[in-house]
């Protein structure tokens, strides 16, 4: 871990989700740190609480669910759980941004992609008028959308899945956030496209000095992408450590079984 205070410091985070007749503890006593510029991975199977953790940092919950959080989420020393809704609204998209799993459903189908980048810029920056769109086009260019000036006026359905994920990444990095949370950013994509998107995330992180929280079920994805890995199982972190150590000498039984499930080739040919 690099010196100084961590950018994000989660302490004893517990998330309870209320359903009609019971309360489920989706996350139990999770603690971890993310240093400035550092990339941290969260690995676990679906339902282990890794996505709930990621959303908790953004203070987002799925529509119609009632999630209660306990513990502390310290971002630059401030506890996000004590912020007002207004303050949290200014934080989202500005200092902490998120990329979601399914690019096919994550863009508003009735707005042009340019407009969907414009609105986050208008919300968080001082840009106005033509400068907004100019910046949006720059962003599309930065994430590798070809012919960005023209394509900014297209609707989401005119783009492929990989391109849509690039657009969503452009939205996420629009305001130069300090922390980017990527929740299974490649799961819904073809294998070849997966590698491209991961490479893009790596590059942007280095260029902009962002911290990255990468959430995935796939050890093949974290290898070569992050420095530190937390393995989650049933709402708890069961193992944490340096990525190389963890991949070569897993301690926990669950980590071993997860690693055994990854096809050899993918781990060996990890993204570089």
């Amino acid at each position: 871990m690099s010196a100084g205070t961590p950018l994000l410091s989660v302490r004893d985070l517990t998330a309870r989700i209320a359903t009609h007749h019971e309360i489920v503890e989706a996350v139990r006593g999770v603690s971890f740190d993310v240093a400035p510029g550092e990339a941290v991975g969260f690995v676990g199977e679906s339902g282990c609480g890794k996505s709930v953790t990621a959303r908790a940092i953004m203070r987002l919950a799925a529509e119609g669910t009632d999630v209660r959080l306990d513990g502390k989420i310290l971002f630059k020393g401030r506890d996000l759980l004590t912020l007002s809704d207004r303050e949290m609204g200014k934080m989202r998209g500005r200092q902490i941004a998120m990329v979601f799993q399914d690019p096919m459903t994550s863009l508003n189908p009735v707005m042009t992609v340019g407009a969907q980048i414009d609105d986050v810029l208008r919300r968080h920056t001082d840009l106005y008028g033509r400068a907004v769109r100019a910046r949006s086009i720059e962003l599309l260019d930065a994430v590798g959308v070809p012919d960005p000036a023209r394509r900014a006026d297209d609707h989401p359905h005119q783009f492929s899945g990989g391109q849509r994920q690039r657009i969503l990444i452009a939205i996420a990095i629009a305001c130069d956030p300090d922390l980017l949370i990527a929740d299974e950013p490649t799961t819904a994509l073809d294998v070849t496209v997966q590698a491209q998107i991961l490479r893009l995330l790596m590059r942007l992180r280095e260029e902009r000095g962002m911290s990255l929280l990468l959430i995935t079920h796939d050890f093949g994805v974290v290898a070569g992408m992050v420095e530190k890995v937390n393995v989650m199982y049933r709402g708890e972190i069961v193992e944490t450590g340096d990525v190389d150590t963890l991949l070569s000498k897993p301690q926990h039984e669950y980590t071993k079984s997860l690693l055994a499930a990854v096809p050899r080739i993918r781990v060996a040919g990890a993204i570089s």
């Binding site: 987002l60 529509e63 609204g89 200014k90 979601f100 459903t105 863009l107 359905h157």
Partner: protein, 313 residues
């Protein structure tokens, strides 16, 4: 997509043909024809009656009568009223405009009431949801002519100075013209607002669960932006579709509401014409009404095909 639209257009035309034919046959099946009704109690010789029938073309075979009528109708000539001898189109047009105006007021009120209650129901949930749905359930059970009558009763009892009846032509005083139609529009639109409310609720709930709404919130956008740009813009298509499909209900209901509020619209005209057996007028009204319904259904369909293409492709 173009082919789909062309097929749809052709089909619409076929339906209109079918409708006009059924309407024609139906009117000719009336026991006692127009000539007898017109002659009334005065004793007219059988030859004179036959002469009148020949003059009006009623002595020829029904199919031939229909084809003649259809040929003229396709050229925009719907014949002349048996009663006033004025061209039907000329008599119908101003009345059609009045009904159109009434329906417009009704649909706007229905969209406002239904949209707001449906949205409140979906967003606030809990008690509000329960209350809205209960009120909707009750409103659905009160037919529009009962509501209209009760509105008139309440206005008469508690606001006697309010002018409830009648209609001011749009050309005379546009503002007053619409003002006159507020209460009738409410009576007519209430039932439709229930449908719109329920559909708004369902549409908003469905859109709320979409990933892009979560993304919008993750962008830190203001609540109002998320609501209007992300939720409502996507929920709008199904809501407007449903509103369009309610036009048939409005046209049917306008007959009753126009009668109660003494509004000189197409509904009232139809009712008068049926009692007078004025075939050409009835025919034209049925065709116009069915035409409007079929046309709107078609537009809704096409809008749907296009919206679908945008979302799915």
């Amino acid at each position: 997509m173009k082919r789909l639209i062309i097929v749809r257009l052709a089909w619409t035309f076929a339906i209109l043909l079918g409708v006009s034919f059924i309407a024609f046959i139906l009117m000719r099946a009336l026991p006692g024809d127009f000539v007898l009704a017109a002659a009334g109690t005065t004793s007219v010789s059988a030859e004179a009656l036959d002469g009148m029938r020949a003059e009006l073309g009623l002595d020829r075979p029904v199919l031939e009568q229909y084809l003649v009528w259809l040929g003229n109708a396709l050229q925009g000539d719907f014949g002349a009223s048996f009663v006033t001898h004025a061209p039907v189109l000329q008599e119908l047009a101003p009345r059609f405009f009045v009904t159109l105006q009434l329906s417009l007021v009704a649909i706007v009120m229905a969209l406002l009431i239904g949209g707001v209650t449906g949205l409140a129901s979906a967003r606030l949930r809990g008690r509000v949801d329960w209350l809205v749905r209960a009120i909707n359930g009750v409103s659905l059970a009160v037919p529009n002519f009962v509501i209209a009558t009760l509105i008139v009763l309440l206005a008469g009892l508690y606001f006697p100075q309010l002018v409830v009846f009648g209609y001011t032509p749009f050309a005379v005083d546009p503002l007053k013209s619409f003002g006159n139609l507020l209460l009738p529009g409410l009576a007519l639109g209430l039932a439709v607002s229930v449908t719109i409310s329920e559909n708004t609720r369902a549409a908003v709930l469905e859109v709320s669960n979409q990933d892009f709404v979560m993304v919008a919130r993750a962008k830190g956008l203001k609540r109002s932006t998320v609501l209007f740009q992300y939720l409502l813009r996507n929920a709008a298509t199904p809501i407007i579709t449903v509103a369009g499909l309610q036009v048939a209900t409005l046209l049917g209901g306008s007959i009753l509401v126009e009668t109660i509020f003494a509004i000189p619209g197409m509904g009232q005209y139809l009712f008068d014409s049926i009692t007078r057996r004025d075939y050409p007028v009835i025919q034209a009204i049925v065709l116009v009404a069915a035409g409007v319904v079929v046309l709107i259904n078609m537009l809704v369909d096409i809008a749907y095909i296009r919206a679908d293409a945008r979302v799915r492709l």
